[in-house]
Symmetry: C2
Subunit: 695 residues, 2 copies
């Protein structure tokens, strides 16, 4: 039975009656817990109850991967609801899933990932051309299941869905801090949940070479401190990813970012060794010798081995951030540049890139590289991954090259989710491309660079924010409402916990370590109150503001490592203030609410103080705690002005703004996030009576 036939069958039994007439477009997003938002969605009436009799039947094309997907789906459904599900087949299955045909043996870019999902009070039906779409549909179903007044249920709905971009990825840097396999696996579970389909595995760096090479074992034995993935583990992860509709693109960064290679193979470098694994962060001098034929012979054998290990058609060769110092210092390399008419190091790197691209092509794969590998004239099957920005992506597309966007999706920079969410690979300079050129923009990848993450806090840097980036890459371009995004993100974040992601549980645990395990509940609450309204310094300011030069041996146990990258509490406070001020500060209930919050913050420093005496990790943030207290006092003083009905005097305002300026200076690498909202309050009560909304 095709989907069309099934739809007819369903209408015959009155399904059409269950559907509301409201056809939801992407613009008027209904209140359904879905992220990414589907391309098309019609809400119905009633819901499908989930109980222990829940069962699934597969029709059409079947394969073991689909069976496993169903088992995983049932396990997940059971976790979310705590309803034991036997998964035994039933003559009247609750969910019928029809798959037309197989997908490719090795998952390819651009395969059909579409699906339809219909849920009525009687049952549910999935229809998909390939297992990829079918698996996406199961994830949509899981997001729809929620507690209801009468039990667990999924609302009646009809969804027709497909992705906007075919390349929707997450990169994890496993080199700067090693990330164990089980942590990667739970993150792949997360990718599946939000329908991302590429895991970009950044496997080598100055700080570590993380993949076993049987051909050149000194790479991983000497370049990893023993922290690497065996080839069996790599195959295991690739199979795990394939089961979830995810391609695995390995990256071996060259010719720069490669010190760890040189520990075992100094002959590859442009300056004599010996080399040691780099322990610091930054851009370093060591680079492969692009003038030595032995380098290419080595890379040929290495790429031969790795392209066999990694089945994906794409092979990432990095190519970013070569500072050229080793090249400049080598007379031999300078000579080579002259004799080959390579006018600068950029040209030399282009020469290197083209040689490596030929090697990769020879082994049947296509190259992905960072912006730097885009050199006019390179073969058209490469993919440019842009860390530089939309401009560089559009430029490549204009010349007929494929690209994916990562600029704007760097998870380690601590941006708000809203800021990531606003970045669209097809907007800005790309908007001026021809439709054909626009097609060359394949999508994007979020990037988790690992200077400041390890197994303990990495999930919290990726999730839930990565779900919003996944939505940007999957959903219609018109899906842009920030309030809706945050509201759905809140729900999805809670659901992601059932996958075993630790992005929420790690936080109280790290706070307990900071406070000391003997801290009282009240002291812990005080630490939490402070932690909830601070964020780490943004972008690349963290190194500069570090108390000591950070290295891979620096413990990630400070408050800056423990707090989420985005303060929900500060965002909510800011929304409250906006609403209050824009209503001319006349809402007495709202004022009372703000006051309660501000009093809690003002008094928090005194509650936290005992811990500053017992824990060096709390002592470090004592000034930030005092800053919160001072800031809250300013906010309270602003509220105190309101009943007077006249503008606050200028000297008062100047005084308050001085305190606010102080609060803006990061201390112990922390930003006090309620600062702008409190400034807004001060400016509002200073502007006129009662108060005037600031811009």
């Amino acid at each position: 039975m095709t989907f069309g036939e099934w739809m007819q069958g369903i209408s015959a039994i009155g399904f059409a009656l269950l559907l509301c007439a409201t056809s939801a477009t992407a613009q008027d997003q209904p209140k359904l817990n879905l992220m990414p938002m589907p391309a098309n969605l019609q809400t119905g009436t009633g819901d499908l109850r989930i109980d222990s009799s829940f069962s699934v039947a597969l029709t059409g094309h079947t394969e073991p991967r689909l069976d496993r997907a169903v088992q995983r789906f049932l396990r997940q459904l059971s976790r979310q609801t705590a309803i034991p599900l036997s998964g035994k087949p039933s003559t009247k299955p609750t969910l019928t899933m029809h798959t037309d045909h197989a997908s490719k043996e090795v998952q390819e870019l651009g395969e059909d990932e579409s699906y339809t999902l219909s849920i009525s009070t009687d049952g549910a039906k999935i229809d998909a051309p390939t297992p990829l779409g079918a698996m996406h549909a199961l994830q949509t179903f899981l997001q729809l299941v929620e507690v209801s007044p009468n039990g667990f249920a999924a609302p009646a709905v009809t969804i027709q869905d497909k992705p906007r971009f075919p390349w929707r990825g997450l990169m994890i840097d496993v080199a700067r801090h090693f990330i164990p396999l089980d942590v990667l696996k739970r993150n792949l579970d997360g990718l599946e949940a939000v329908k991302m389909n590429v895991f970009h595995w950044h496997l080598s760096e100055n700080q570590g070479f993380r993949a076993e090479s049987k051909k050149f074992p000194k790479l991983h034995t000497l370049g990893s401190d023993g922290l690497y993935y065996t080839q069996d583990e790599i195959r295991d992860l690739i199979a795990y990813a394939r089961d979830r509709g995810i391609r695995v693109v390995p990256e071996f960064d060259m010719p720069g970012h490669s010190t760890a290679w040189f520990v075992g193979h100094p002959e590859l470098a442009s300056a004599p060794g010996p080399y040691e694994i780099e322990r610091k962060w930054g851009i370093f001098d060591p680079a492969m010798d692009p003038t030595n034929e032995k380098t290419y012979k080595f890379l040929d054998e290495f790429v031969a081995e790795m392209t066999k290990l990694f089945p994906d058609h794409y092979f990432h060769i990095g190519g970013d951030e070569v500072n050229g110092k080793q090249w400049d210092a080598s007379p031999k390399i300078q000579e080579f540049k002259k004799s080959h008419a390579l006018k600068d190091n950029e040209a030399l790197q282009a020469y290197f890139s083209q040689r490596v691209q030929k090697i990769v092509t020879k082994h049947g794969k296509a190259v992905v590289g960072w912006d730097e590998v885009f050199i006019p004239g390179v073969p058209k099957d490469i993919v440019i991954q842009s860390w530089r920005g939309q401009e560089s992506l559009a430029k490549a597309a204009a010349q007929g090259y494929h690209g994916i966007l990562s600029n704007g999706y760097y998870l380690d920079l601590g941006w708000s989710t809203a800021r990531h969410y606003a970045v669209d690979p097809a907007s800005g300079p790309a908007a001026n491309l021809t439709p054909d050129q626009q097609q060359l923009i394949l999508g994007g990848e979020s990037c988790m660079w690992a200077e400041y993450v390890n197994s303990e806090n990495i999930d919290s840097r990726i999730w839930p924010r990565n779900a919003a980036i996944a939505e940007r890459l999957w959903s219609p371009q018109s899906v842009t409402d920030i309030a809706s995004m945050y509201s759905r993100l809140h729900t999805v974040s809670a659901q992601l916990e059932w996958l075993g992601l630790t992005h929420r549980t790690y936080y109280p645990q790290m706070l307990r370590r900071i406070a000391g395990h003997a801290a009282t509940p009240e002291q812990l609450t005080a630490l939490r109150t402070l932690a909830d309204v601070v964020e780490p310094v943004k972008d690349y300011t963290r190194e500069a503001s570090a108390p000591a030069e950070p290295t891979s041996a620096t413990p990630l146990n400070r408050l800056v490592d423990a707090i989420p990258l985005e303060s929900d509490a500060a965002r909510r406070f800011s929304e409250q203030v906006d609403k209050f001020v824009s209503a001319s500060c006349r809402d007495a209930d709202a004022a009372a609410q703000l006051r309660v919050q501000l009093i809690t913050w003002r008094d928090n420093d005194a509650r936290l103080r005992p811990l500053t005496q017992t824990s060096f990790l709390v002592k470090e943030v004592a000034a930030t705690s005092q800053g919160l207290s001072a800031l809250a006092s300013v906010g309270l003083a602003a509220l105190d002005h309101l009943p007077k009905g006249s503008p606050a005097p200028d000297d008062w305002k100047a005084q308050q703004l001085a305190i606010i300026e102080q609060a803006k200076t990061p201390k112990s690498q922390l930003l006090l996030m309620p600062t702008p909202a409190i400034q807004k309050l001060v400016e509002a009560v200073s502007a006129g009576g009662n108060c005037v909304a600031a811009k």
Copy 2:
């Protein structure tokens, strides 16, 4: 170097100066985070800083198990502190650990588990006769490490330690709900942390047969719904336990509690089959046929297989709760009783027990059984596990039999930790035994019966409370201070998280499921406020008060499943009220604090109300939430009386006590734990002015 020599060496360099003169006995417990409390402890001055150079050296006897223990120790130390530790050997090790000699190939009851541990500002030293003591010492060290004003550190201390009882165990029933291997493993990690040395694996029940039998595969294939441990997994768990100084005692319960055996082998039963796996809880009729020689032939072969699989000297044959109905209904069995002069079913069971004991003895093992297997005349090498109580334990000891106590340590009954803690195997009737007879009391076991636990909440039923039982069985009998116990338990509970135990993280997650993932933070806080002050109904009242007959298919997703078994918030409130009342209600600050708490509770119902509309799991507890609100209003009314300085009128008191009586009635199987404290407030203000401490 022996410990004595080392101590001399240390004094030569001034170690003695570092030690305080105060020799801490068990009575004046110092404020160190240790559970169980060591037998002897002297605190010193200063502390040993933990940094990334931390290293361990082993001297004396070595074996791979000790190396693994050190690696595990370092991993744990690194988790607790987030300090990366390479574990590389050093010429100046931070911790030197000397082990005299090997322990037994198969760990035996009563092996030497003693150790000494000395920590100074310079380094630490462990000295132990056997690896068992050495491993205990490492756990003591881990408990001592805490955040300090200058970094992570362990305080200077000298400890000489050994257990009071040689048998300190935890039983987990994996039959009523299957508990996966990884959950058992993290609980074994917990046992190691609190120095328990027996894992009693309750493997068969009416509701499931959980061990693979190659000899009789129908036992596990038909008796387990596919949820069983393979023999490889069992060997793996036993090795895992041995690595942690833990013996594994298997239990195959017979002749009762055995329906699951009969699904595949109805011929073993006393009534014809067919049988199905039991889905309900309680005591059931099916029992093995003690009159059939084929039963013993089967058990002989079965015990032969299982005693090979489980290396421990002890083999638990259950023996509890046979209701005798199948025996009474069988003319053949009645005939047998007559012909063998067995006057009642008890005698018949004694006959069965003796036959099975002979089989177990024949296979080189000794029997453990519940009280019922204690029949005068049975061989002296059996161990009686008493679920009935201290009386029965003492009676057995008086006749020369070994025993372990479990009565008083049933974790599923929901007792307070203090109540478990007060139970001592050597007190009560045992106190009247001769010293030799007292020696026969080997220790005890806490028991986790699994009607209402699964992977999700089992850790929370075992931990942290089991640490207090572990202390009862390890520490000197004089260690009984409840306040000290709770204070240390609070700390140990937080530390246990680093082992991966989920006894704290599960709770907010289950509350989010109950609330619905879309619940606002404020709504979640309201649910948490209620959840924090209720406890599940106690002892065996849960079945009786269930909304529908519970079975193994009943989802464990209600508030009663989610809350910890003991309310810390209610305990703290009760302590506050006690203090306030005993100071004649004159402390205005204390009154204000109580008022804040009571207002939060009073107003909580209104905050929670929206969720009662959207979640059936919150709707279920709406009456309890209203009860808390009413109760808090009573408490506030009591405080309102205080300024009047005269006793509250009798009719007022009667009115308040009526509301309190209502609050005492459990609703949705929940007890409102602040009730007694609020009653105390009412009685205090009714008794006289200002108020009079109630008894």
